[in-house]
């Protein structure tokens, strides 16, 4: 029941870096996720950064901070950010913050 931290997996295809955090994103886990994500972004210097939220089991407002932080970093590198496949819970929180007005959200048909 208690999963202490989120993990990050990534894929790089063409100029598109996909970051896929899994597990729980809170203030505690965001610290490590942030470091790992930023190292990947600097190293791969993508044209598009996709943040895949389909495997998040828990997220609070710290997740919003995590997403906005990566979006801002990507922007300074002239890289476009998209959010991919947020679940019902995550979508609720994104909607509260009006996130979809700032970052394009893509939902793949299942």
């Amino acid at each position: 029941m208690i999963k202490t931290s989120g993990k990050l997996t990534h894929t790089l295809e063409g100029g598109r870096l996909t970051l896929k955090p899994t597990g729980e994103i809170d203030h505690h886990s965001a610290v490590a996720l942030r470091e790992e994500a930023d190292a990947l972004i600097y190293r791969t210097h993508p044209e598009v950064l996709a943040i895949d939220l389909s495997s998040i089991e828990f997220m609070d407002s710290s997740g919003l901070g995590f997403i906005m932080g990566r979006y801002k970093l990507a922007r300074t590198l002239n890289c476009k950010t998209v959010i991919k496949n947020p679940g019902v819970r995550v979508s609720k929180i994104l909607a509260l913050a009006g996130m979809e007005r700032i970052i394009k959200t893509e939902r793949d048909q299942k």
Partner: protein, 151 residues
């Protein structure tokens, strides 16, 4: 905030004290959710409670006890009529203007990648929230959640 009727019988009560370590964010929300399971909540109720508790506890750690450590006091009271009251208290720095702090996107910690959405999340995932705070003395956030309501 909807008040708790005086005649509503208490079913069960839990008190929890945790040091303000970020690793306890997950611990606190899991413990409160497990305790509330006695009221037979649905998956949405549980997810709502976990998220609201996580917000309040994180605020104790990042704001109330910023650059220091302290104790987070959590009291959960379950009532017979499926009402759940969760109190999260700190003896930290306090909030000078609660009304301003509760505004969406208001944060005093933008460099820390905070979005200022914690109170908004607590409000939308519960059936009532009360914030009492005194600068230098601390803050108490009280969350009410009616189990089984569609919110």
């Amino acid at each position: 905030m909807r008040s708790v009727a005086n005649n509503t019988k208490i079913k069960n009560k839990m008190k929890l004290q945790l040091p303000s370590l970020s690793v306890n964010e997950g611990m606190a929300r899991a413990a409160v959710a497990a305790f509330c399971a006695q009221l037979d909540p649905g998956a949405t109720d549980i997810a709502d409670i976990k998220c609201a508790v996580s917000e309040a506890v994180t605020n104790c750690i990042v704001h109330a006890y910023r650059n220091t450590f302290g104790v987070i006091y959590i009291t959960v009271t379950l009532y017979e009529d499926k009402l759940c009251k969760i109190e999260i208290r700190d003896r930290g720095c306090g909030i000078p203007d609660v009304r301003e702090a509760r505004q969406p996107l208001f944060t005093t910690d933008a460099e820390g990648e905070r979005s200022g959405m914690g109170f908004t999340v607590m409000e939308s995932f519960t059936d009532g929230i009360r914030v009492r705070s005194k600068v230098g003395a601390g803050t108490t956030v009280t969350l009410l959640k009616r189990i089984g309501s569609k919110n």
